[in-house]
């Protein structure tokens, strides 16, 4: 029987927006477990909103610091104390990417040109944006369909104790399983929402889904 993986938003986020930590287990799940992969329309909408916010927040943070460095009075070669001072004076405490940028500075050579610092920051900004784009393209190629369901399935809604948007995601998965047949499991990277406190068992008994799998530990 065809084994189908129905991905929740957490899997899309983990696969596309983290470099390694959640990307690797999600990638491992996708390449080994299901014969076919589906996701839901609501999942994609949630993912798109999150990805836009996350990517804008971090690229914006890197860009803000990069422009501050470019507009600063620093020129030519910088030594370790210059780099420390540059961070102290030009890396704002409220910059959302502060820790990542600080980590990048730690990896720079002892003596480095300002232009090289700017170049590294440009690369970081582009890498963040590009990673999300490329990985979403990869997922889109692998996903058969982002399932859309018109039926509200009140029987499922009343039986499963989930909040929105998780409830609609679960209903879309149920509708998919009911419509196409086969073994459809809900693949999640959010065990707190879909696995813990017996939620996985409730989903299994109240829906046409065969079960819930936590991609981050599968």
């Amino acid at each position: 029987m065809t084994q189908i993986g129905y991905l929740d938003t957490g899997v899309l986020i983990g696969f596309c927006l983290t470099v390694d930590s959640h990307h690797e287990p999600c990638s491992e799940y996708l390449s080994t477990r299901p014969d076919e992969i589906y996701s839901g329309e609501r999942v994609e909408r949630e993912y798109d909103n999150t990805a836009e916010t996350v990517v804008q927040r971090y690229t914006g943070g890197v860009r803000r610091h990069r422009v501050a460095v470019q507009s600063s009075s620093y020129t030519g070669e910088l030594g370790p104390s210059d780099l420390r001072e540059l961070q102290r004076s030009h890396l704002a405490p409220d910059n959302p990417t502060r820790d990542t940028i600080a980590e990048l500075y730690d990896q720079l050579p002892q003596v480095v040109y300002v232009d090289t610092v700017v170049d590294y920051l440009r690369k970081l900004e582009r890498d963040i944006e590009q990673m999300a784009l490329n990985r979403k393209d990869t997922l889109d190629d692998a996903i058969v369909d982002y399932w859309c369901c018109d039926d509200s399935h009140p029987e499922v809604r009343s039986a499963v104790d989930l909040h929105e948007p998780d409830l609609t995601i679960c209903v879309e998965g149920h509708d998919l399983a009911e419509t196409i047949g086969g073994t459809v499991e809900l693949a999640t990277a959010n065990p707190t929402d879909f696995v813990d406190e017996g939620t996985d068992t409730t989903i299994e008994s109240a829906t046409a889904l065969s079960g819930v799998v936590d991609c981050t530990t599968a």
Partner: protein
């Protein structure tokens, strides 16, 4: 008979001269736009000229001579100022093309250094044909590509000159810094100066409509300025979505640099922490 663009620039330069040289405000409604400083015809009584269609496709501006001087109700001093100003303008700019007048306006009267900077890049792209000129140095192994370097240096200048402290430019700042990095990406990946020229032109259009036209308007009817302000917001939104598409296209073709990978642990921790806290 003169073309519209020449007439407008001539008019605006004369008004500036009268103000600077004779401390006389003639009240010409001027505003900055893509092509330099222009005059808002809708805010003036235009009975003293006609502008029929011209053989070159635009409009030809001609004076109406039977309009008596008295119609304008000018004082003796204003009349003298106007006469001297016209004399000066003819002496300075007679036979100048619209392009030359525009370059002059940008160099002498641009409202700030940022506007001067991008216009310098624009001129360079428009008139020097960087596409056709392949510097000999690119044939040397690891030789510098001087045309690319020129463009990068001019882009750096525009970044350094961006008026971050000026609230008028605040709404545009994110779009500008994203645009600048995308322009650089375009040259790094495709070395396509002609495409950069179009891309810069689109940016100049949005600066003009989303900032310049209403922020640097002098004597223009207030209702019209308010209309421009509203149109400017929509124009910026459209530009942001086009920019996002162009940028994505270029990024999709790019190789990852490895910089994000080198800080992956800290980056992932930040993403997961933020997402957990946002829930």
């Amino acid at each position: 008979m003169v073309p519209k663009t020449v007439f407008h620039k001539f008019w605006s330069l004369s008004d500036r001269y009268a103000e600077a040289e004779f401390d006389t405000e003639l009240g010409v409604p001027r505003y900055w736009y893509k092509y330099g400083e222009l005059v808002d015809e809708q805010s003036v009584d235009s009975g003293f000229f006609v502008a029929p269609s011209a053989p070159w496709g635009g409009q030809a501006y001609k004076p109406v001579y039977d309009e008596g001087d008295g119609e304008f109700d000018l004082g003796r001093r204003e009349q003298q100022v106007i006469e001297q100003t016209v004399e000066w303008a003819l002496d300075q700019f007679d036979q100048w093309s619209a392009r030359k007048l525009e370059a002059h306006q940008y160099r002498k009267h641009a409202p700030n250094e940022f506007i001067r900077s991008y216009s310098e890049l624009r001129e360079r792209l428009q008139y020097t044909g960087l596409d056709e000129q392949v510097p000999l140095s690119v044939y040397e192994p690891d030789g510098p590509d001087t045309n690319r370097e020129v463009v990068f240096e001019l882009l750096d200048q525009t970044v350094a000159a961006y008026p971050t402290e000026d609230p008028a430019f605040e709404p545009l700042s994110d779009a500008f810094f994203r645009w600048e990095d995308t322009a650089r990406l375009l040259i790094e990946q495709e070395r396509d100066f002609a495409r950069l020229e179009v891309f810069l032109d689109e940016f100049v259009q949005v600066v003009s409509e989303a900032v310049l036209r209403f922020q640097f308007a002098d004597g223009v009817d207030q209702e019209r300025v308010a209309e421009w302000r509203t149109d400017g917001e929509a124009c910026l939104e459209r530009f942001e979505s086009t920019l996002a598409e162009r940028r994505s296209e270029l990024l999709r073709e790019r190789e990852q640099s490895g910089v994000l990978q080198s800080v992956s642990a800290t980056y992932d921790e930040m993403v997961l922490d933020d997402l957990t806290n946002d829930e």
